[in-house]
Structure formats: C-alpha cells, structure tokens
C-alpha cells in the first residue's frame, strides 16, 4: 500500500503552485493554466516520455527533464519556455519530419495533424537536416482502417490505447531506434490480426495520418481522442 500522497509546493515559470506528490510537472503545470507542448502524451494513457517535446529546465540541474514523467518535488523551480528549450523542441520536430516521409500536402491528415500544428506553433518553416526518405510500406489489409508507416512518429499512443483501454494489445513496436516499426500481433498484416477488435481507438488517438479510417480519406475529419478520460472515469466508477 502506497503512503497517501503529500502536498508539494514548487514554482513553475515563477508562479508558486502546489501539487500532490504523485503528480508530474506536466499535470501541475496544466492544472495551473501553464501550457507545455506535448506529442506522445494523451490524457487517459500512461506516460512514456518518447517525444521529448515537454522538456523543461530545473533550477540546479543542467539536464533537461521531460515534464510528463518527472514527479513534482518540494522547492522545485521549473522553467517551461526558454530559448534553449525552444531550440530543442524545434530540433525534435525537424528530426521527426526528416526521419520518415511526411508529405503534408498529400497526407490524409493535412490540416488535422498534431505534428503539423506543433511545427507551426514552434516556427518550424523548414527542416535543416537531410531527409532520410526511407522506403516504407502502407498496410491496407484491414477492412476499415489503414496504417501508413511513412507518417508514423512512433509516439506509441496506439500501442498504449490498445493495451490499456481496449485490452487487446494488438499493436507493438518492432526493432530499435530509427529502425523501429509499428506492428500488429506477430508482425502480420493488420487485416489478419487475431486480436484486433476493430474498435478504432488507435485511429482516433493517432496524432498524424499514420492510422486512418479508409472511408474518411479526403474528407475533413478531425480525430477525437477526448473519449479516453471519459472511459477511464467510467471504469473507475467516477461517473
């Protein structure tokens, strides 16, 4: 049995805030109206700290810390927006664009994409790194949905929602680093998956055009990841 969480006081961007000891810096910041950019985080899913968009500075430390997986501590002094952090956030975004083939103009998620939104918000007008232009497949074997690896940023929202909310654990990652690939079951076509329930949660939480509904291509359809908090509250008897 864990001890009851204690109240911690800390400062975020010079604003004194209090938070429970089991809260992350990201939780505490958002509760107090301080926005920190994120990509892999989604309310209702466990945190993985994969994208590094939420890096913050802590007084007394030269290392940057991801706000989504760093718990609050007494007396902490957090800074969320500095030229150094902005430099790294822009770099993260540019590397994501350079890693695979994000051709926004012909993407099913054009104008409805969190990666594209973040690029605009952080003033990314071009990518300084050479594009890798890898050859990647598109899996259209599922009856209703499709997976385009060219647009995947490996945020693992789909892996987590399938495992934690739907309980199917159809998705997982194969390989390491730049060779990582999202796979269904034992690396078989999505349409031949034994575990997929075709619930579509992975499609709704995908921040880019990597997972999409085949019937909605070309339509301006925004994804709706907001159902997660509701499902969690239902499960925990809070509603």
């Amino acid at each position: 049995m864990n001890p009851a969480p204690a109240v911690k006081t800390l400062a975020i961007d010079g604003i004194d805030v209090s938070a429970s000891s089991d809260q992350t810096i990201l939780d505490a910041a958002r509760e107090n109206g301080i926005s920190i950019p994120t990509l892999c985080h989604l309310d209702g899913l466990t945190e993985v700290g994969a994208c590094r968009m939420c890096l913050v500075e802590l007084k007394g430390s030269t290392r940057l810390q991801p706000a989504c997986v760093t718990l609050v501590e007494e007396g902490m002094e957090v800074t969320t927006r500095t030229p150094r952090l902005e430099k790294y956030r822009r770099m993260v975004l540019e590397l994501l664009f350079a890693e695979r083939n994000h051709v926004c103009s012909v993407c099913v998620a054009n104008n409805m994409c969190e990666l594209q939104d973040q690029a605009k918000a952080h003033g990314v007008t071009h990518v300084r790194f050479p594009y890798r232009s890898p050859e990647l497949p598109v899996d259209v074997s599922h009856e209703r949905f499709a997976l385009d690896h060219n647009r995947c940023i490996l945020c693992t929202r789909c892996v987590r929602v399938c495992n934690e909310i739907e309980g199917a654990h159809t998705w997982d990652l194969l390989g390491r680093g730049v060779n990582s690939l999202l796979i269904s079951d034992l690396h078989q076509p999505w349409g031949e998956s034994d575990t997929c329930t075709s619930c579509g949660k992975c499609v709704q939480v995908c921040p880019t055009g990597a997972l999409f509904d085949k019937s909605k291509v070309g339509g301006k359809v925004r994804k709706n990841p907001d159902f997660l908090s509701y499902l969690n509250e239902m499960r925990e008897g809070l509603r």
Partner: protein, 177 residues
Amino acid sequence: MSKPTLATVWLDGCSGCHMSILDMDERLVELSEQFDLVYSPLVDYKEFPAHVDIALIEGSVSSDEDDRKIRLVRAHTRVLVSLGDCAVTGNVPAMRNPIPVPELLDSVYKGNGLLQEQVPTHCLPTLLPRVRPVHEVVNVDVFVPGCPPSADTIFTIISELLAGRVPDVAALSRFGA
C-alpha cells in the same frame, strides 16, 4: 532611383505556386508598380539578369538543369525565397527518392503495353539520384512553406520584403496548407 528587381523561378514543381502568385488578382497590379519583374516563366526574358533583389523559387532540385539554374540564381540574387513545399521540403517530387533512378525510369517508360519502349536520353535534363529541397543546394534567406502558399501569404511576403522587412512566415503559412 530605380525600382527593386524581382524574379520568379520554376524548378521541379507543378506551377501551383505561380498560380497562387497570379491568384493575388488585382493586388498584383498594385504591387507590381513597386518592382520590375526581370525574369519569370510568366514573362519572356531568356537570361537570368546580373543583379536581382528578390527571387522567388518554386520547386525542388531534381535534375542537373535545376541544380545549374539554382546555383546561377543564387549567385545573382540578394534575397532568395524558397516558395512552397517543393522548394522547402522536396514535397511530392521527393516521393521518388526511395526508388533508384534507373528503376524509376524503367517503370515509367517501359512495360505498361507501350508500343515503343525507350527511356529518353536526348534533350531532357538528367535526373539527380535524389530530389533535394533548395536549401540543401544553396543558401536560402526566406522559407515560405505551403502547397501552395496562399495568395494572401505571397502578397504579405513580397510587400514586407519590398519594404525592407523580414516577414514572420510561421504566422502566415505552414507545411501542406
């Protein structure tokens, strides 16, 4: 004092960015009184002039001809603007990058029931192994993403540059849009 000179250049793109320039409609007439258009696919000058104040580049660098042209343009231009996603990112032309050029040419010019199968070798620019955004080849001063950037965006960019200011592009346009 003579007016600033403006050039527009068309590399590997669909001409959509040039259509977007024309889409400024009557504002183009008003704006054009502030500069001399000295080189463009829209006018009939054959040679790139010795000195150009602002050059708008549409398209990516995909062939030896594009490569030669963009280096010439850079050498004679004060402010070089990458206009649109092809110039800025490689965009649709760069979708061929995972495919080796000989395979690419074979798949287009051979098979498919063609009567005279032949890969063209004369009078056409040679494709580079990889399509590259303009800034991988020459230094770029202003980046304007968008497919295409809207007429409003282009109007603001040109107006700001003519006034000697650096436009805040991120507020105006983005990749894809």
